[in-house]
Amino acid sequence: MLQFMREGLSGRNGQYFVIVAAVMLVAPLIFWKLDLPFAANAMLLCLMFSIMAMAWNLLEGYTGQLSFGHAVFFGVGAYTTMILMLYYGVTPWVGVFVGGLVAALVGLALGVPLFRLRSHWFALATIAVGEIFKLIFISWDYVGGSAGLQSPIVPEEQKLYYLQYAGSYVYIYLALGLLGLELLVLYPLVKSRIGYYLQAIREDEDAAMSLGINPFKYKMVAMFFSALFTGIGGGIYTVRFRFVDPFAVFDLISVSVYITIAGILGGIYSFIGPIVGSFVFVPISEYVRVYIVSRFPRFYGLHVFVLGVILLAISLLAPEGIMGWLEKRGYLMKGRETGEVRKE
């Protein structure tokens, strides 16, 4: 792993990485000093969606399995963290990871039937799975039914144990740490033999199979890590907002499609593309939602309309995403894992 870090941090891209990391570490302090809660919250959401969009991209960008069902893993992660905290008093320091693991197990269980499907059939089935989970959680009383679950405010001395702080400032560091963890896990993974197997499956599943790669096995590996980190993203949601309900966490548009847009906007054939996409897309969405829609509540829905315009523009004008576009123009050193936009 150290070797990968040394390799990844050398060269110009490595310098960019160090600078960006430093800015990210200092930014919450600046937001806190200047009292900018909106900026801090937007940054937290950017990081949360970065974590999930990168995880999603392991399935789409690397393995070629377009999922519209990542809300399932997000929701399972969020609910697991909440239930452990609320019913069993387990600290979210542990609960977030347990949530990720439970989501990963759900992912493996879903992978067994879903990976028998290809291309758009897979995408359609993931939408249906998302709806099934939403409907089941709505009518499941143990998890609070349609009302959802809310964690109570805890006394001062338990704040660290229950990770309860005002505003988003502290949570940004939590999300940064988890994003760092994700980079440490996924970067060696995609640089390893498995990463190349996944790309071979993406390019041509039959050809990969004829070379002795078992597509199902490696799709399951991708699914495991994808669901794991998406579930961890759900855990961050729980500790920050202290409230989960099926309509919010299993939502097709505001979870699954948000992740998809962030990933595609950044560029699915780039390792860090989804992070770039999240940091471009989430602030726009948050700004329109908080400033424009709250000023003109009559036009509720406008923020999602704007997302539609963004998504349409990328789909038609730059299907390779921001990173792919920058690379094509020669503004970035070409990453080894990126290639031409694949034909079907």
């Binding site: 758009h120 309309f305 539609g308 998504l311």
Partner: protein, 291 residues
């Protein structure tokens, strides 16, 4: 124990609501079959049909039945526009671009409508809304009966259109072999406009029919789009008439399963059925082998 009369009632009401599902599914199947594009925004064109009807009724007092052609024409025009501006440009693009492009259209229509009309549930009170006929233990609501008749009429008219007119034959030719049709002098591009226009127009008629007996709101399309996918998958890839039959089967399945399990879980049954079908026979009940 659930009595037989309940089951009979559920079957009948399933057939009636299923005929609306059929229309949405037929539109999706037409576009899918001819262009090999999955229109994720299908349910939202249906919602537009419902809202055209609502506004025609509220502002001008037009009876929903008279606004069937109106909602067809409005969404037909929008469909042709969508085809020209969006779909044409992603026809040969990778699958992910096609999906995200139609998804973008979905977001723009659904939330554009929400911003324009407000997120509230609306309802049309037609004068004949409460007329109920009883046949033994089975009771029929007049608006649902009308919806079924209109839906059947539209399906028959569409069948005749595809079989007898030049445009219909050309559409079928394009769906079978784009290049051969082009070489025979068929304007493929224009056929695609027509296919997308008719596809979303038929679904909009479904929206109009639903508006006479169910409340409507800008996000209603999401549910019907999922149902439409189930209908198409069940009826067979690109099979327009399979879609009609399977719409009714889905409607009946849904309303009968609501008798035996909690009504809030009745849609779970439909979605599980959907996944089961694509796993077992992705070509559907009435479809032919593809690829």
């Amino acid at each position: 124990m659930i009595g037989l009369d309940y089951v009979a009632n559920a079957v009948v009401s399933g057939i009636l609501i299923g005929s609306v599902y059929s229309l949405v599914g037929m539109g999706l199947a037409l576009i899918w079959g001819i262009m090999d594009v999955i229109n994720f925004a299908q349910g939202d064109y249906m919602m537009l049909g419902a809202f055209v009807t609502y506004w025609a009724f509220t502002l001008a007092g037009v009876d929903p039945l008279l606004s069937v052609p109106l909602s067809f024409l409005v969404t037909f025009a929008l469909g042709v526009l969508t085809q020209r501006v969006v779909i044409e440009r992603v026809l040969d693009a990778p699958m992910v671009s096609q999906i995200t492009a139609t998804f973008a259209v979905l977001l723009m229509i659904r939330y554009g409508a929400e911003a324009a009309f407000g997120p509230y549930t609306k309802r049309i009170y037609v004068p004949y809304a409460d007329v109920i006929y009883r046949f033994g233990t089975v009771s029929l609501q007049l608006p649902r009966l009308i919806a079924f008749s209109v839906s059947l009429g539209v399906a028959v008219a569409f069948y005749v259109f595809l079989k007898t007119t030049y445009t219909g034959v050309a559409l079928r030719a394009v769906s079978q072999n784009r290049m051969a049709a082009y070489l025979m002098g068929i304007n493929v591009r224009k056929m695609y406009w027509i296919a997308f226009g008719i596809g979303v127009g038929i679904s909009a008629v479904g929206g109009t029919l639903v508006a006479t007996f169910l409340p409507i709101h800008p996000e209603m399309g999401g549910f019907y789009a999922l149902i439409a996918f189930i209908v198409v998958v069940f009826g067979g890839f690109g099979s327009v008439f399979g879609a009609y039959i399977s719409g009714i089967i889905i409607g009946v399945t849904e309303s009968v399963s609501a008798l035996f399990i909690s009504p809030s879980l009745k849609d779970v049954v439909a979605f599980l059925l959907f996944i089961a079908i694509i796993l077992v026979k992705p070509t559907g009940l009435f479809g032919t082998e593809q690829r």
